[in-house]
Amino acid sequence: MRRETRNDALWKFGSYIFLLTITALVLIPIYWMLVAATIPQSEFFSWPPRLLPGLHYLQNFQALQESVDFIRSIGNSLIIAVSYTALSLVLCSMAGFAFAKYEFRFKEPLFYAILATLVLPIQLLIIPLFLLITQIGWTNSYLAVILPWAANPLGIFLMRQNMKAIPDALLESARMDGATEFQLYYKIALPTMIPSLSALAIILFLNQWQAFLYPLIVLQEEKMFTIPIALAQLVGQQRVNFDQVMVATSLAIIPIFLMFIFLQQYFIKGILSGSVKQ
């Protein structure tokens, strides 16, 4: 191999500089969010500038909670995201299992109908959904946000792909041992699918946790607001209290950061299946 030249050393140095610059640019907004959340707004521009977080987080939080019931919004987001994830996982894994492991009539056309809707953007759906939800009288209910997106085409696609990996022999031997057909699904297919289910669960949870456009349309009462809507409401006011907003933003973001750091492999799997994107 070649010997290390001065050119190579320079290249290495440049690479590190580039990487550090990008990392710094990525981190500065996050860091500033933390600083701004922990100091009163009046101190944003004191001289010398505040570069370290302060101790004002709790006071800012109290002020936030007085202007909008943000804890309630967190609760709403949790209820919606968790029940949506659970429901969608059941639906997708059941249907995915049928598509992966059974032969039945109209299997192919039905599956392609699902595939075709994978590319449909949300804008194509929201107007009729709004009419539909209004018509049923579900506006300002959890159900209105949970149910319409529970039939997730991407979820069923991923489940089918992964469940194809379950050997037929395994199912057959279980059958011979007297397992019922339903046991094949929940005693054999589901346990072997836990890694894929976890990755899908993260995708579904995040999509719902961060969803904005659709909830904005069907949730109009303040007590039903999810986190993104509450945030948008906060910054939509005449005079924005950024110290309070940053507390709210940090509450929305930091739990997900921790999830990301500890469950990174599932996030990455989700990203690589082209799906974290909303």
Partner: protein, 393 residues
């Protein structure tokens, strides 16, 4: 696209030890049995746009071509021969039972709205309606489908209006296109550069860098937008403060049309850089090491290796990144909604924001539907063009 990694039990150590990129660490080894069967059939049978996604799925899945997979296939063949196939349920209706909950929701909340948007785009919406559209008599119960809305047929009027008359729509189209034309190339180049640097052998603490750069992936669209609203705020924005301190003077980030658009470009790039870097990095790791070695033996320079090995090998992944970023930028909503509010004087209103305004603020649901349909057509055409030109050798 053969995996260059050592498979098996080492994968978990790789994942935890801040080592190589843990794309391949999602399933424990004993479950990686017969993934091979899906690779060819699925990629071939999915529609064109899906093909690109399937390429990436396949790169992940291709690693299962290890001996257990072949054993499982052999199992299948043996069972087929014995005529005890596992794919035929004892109860014929069972598969339908499994898929029906999904399909009920799918039909009501996905298929119906899609068709109805198209339908609605030929009508004027006059208000809600409680009249019965039709009644289906199932023996056990009667299904009444209400007429959802009072509609007035206008034919192609909405489409001629948005094509030739609606200057605000043209403005939204221009704004969105500007963001697309600046943001997508910027992000793809930056993302590729970052991925290339992170893929270089000599870089230490790769996974720390990767995790930090990818952090924005975990931020919600509204949540990160509020941060950028604060950063670029005219009065209390820290960026102007910093610019002033180093003597460059204030920039009217949110009050000038062009600067407001640039602000959105910066924000969107910040949010999606890490996302695209992860995809490109995964793509880089599928490039066979031997190709680089061969190029090195031939005395290729760094640039030549990039140009003649990396770039051609990365082509499908790059195409995927470009197409999905294009689709993404044309659907931008939360950022202008939160950061600029579409202003100043509609300089940053995007197409989706315009749809939202038309539909839910002015209740022009019919016209908004037509804009939605137009947007979908536009994005489809762009994707097809990109795949045509980018996919051809």
């Amino acid at each position: 696209m053969a995996p260059t990694h050592s498979g098996g039990g080492s994968r978990f150590r790789e994942a935890s030890s801040l080592g190589r990129f843990p794309v391949r660490c999602d399933r424990p080894p004993e479950r990686r049995k017969p993934g091979i069967a899906r690779t060819t059939t699925d990629a071939g049978s999915t529609p064109r746009g899906e093909g690109e996604r399937a390429v990436i799925l396949n790169t992940i899945q291709s690693r299962v071509r290890t001996s257990p997979a072949y054993r499982a296939i052999a199992d299948q063949v043996r069972y087929r021969r014995q005529d005890v196939s596992g794919t035929v349920p004892k109860i014929p209706a069972l598969p339908y039972l499994y898929i029906s909950p999904f399909f009920v929701l799918f039909a009501v909340f996905l298929l119906f709205p899609t068709v109805y948007t198209l339908y609605l785009s030929f009508f004027n919406y006059l208000g809600a309606s409680n009249e019965v559209l039709l009644t289906v008599d199932f023996v056990v119960f009667q299904l009444t489908i209400p007429q959802i809305a009072n509609l007035q047929f206008v034919g192609l009027d909405h489409y001629t209006r948005l094509l030739f008359q609606d200057s605000l729509f043209h403005q939204a189209l221009f704004n969105t296109s500007f963001i697309f034309l600046v943001q997508v190339p910027l992000m793809v180049v930056l993302g590729l550069a970052t991925a290339l640097v992170l893929d270089a052998k000599f870089i230490r603490a790769k996974s720390v860098f990767r995790t930090l750069i990818a952090l924005p992936v975990a931020t919600g669209l509204v949540a990160y937008s509020t941060i950028f609203l604060l950063l670029f705020n005219g009065d209390v924005g820290v960026i102007n403060y910093a610019l002033e301190t180093i003597g460059l003077g204030r920039v009217p980030w949110l009050s000038d049309a062009w600067w407001a658009r640039i602000t959105l470009v910066i924000a969107v790039t910040w949010r999606w850089l890490g996302y695209n870097m992860i995809i490109l990095l995964a793509g880089l790791q599928t490039v066979p090491e031997q190709l680089y070695e061969a190029a090195e033996v031939d005395g290729a320079s760094r640039w030549q290796k990039f140009r003649f090995v990396t770039l051609p090998q990365l082509r499908p992944v790059l195409l995927f990144v470009v197409v999905s970023s294009t689709i993404g930028t044309f659907q931008i909503f939360a950022e202008p909604y939160v950061i600029t509010g579409g202003g100043p004087s509609n300089a940053t209103i995007t197409i989706v924001q315009y749809i939202y305004n038309q539909a839910f603020l002015q209740l022009n649901l019919g016209y908004a539907s037509a804009v939605s349909v137009a947007l979908v057509i536009l994005v489809s055409i762009m994707s097809i063009i990109q795949i045509r030109y980018g996919g051809a050798e």
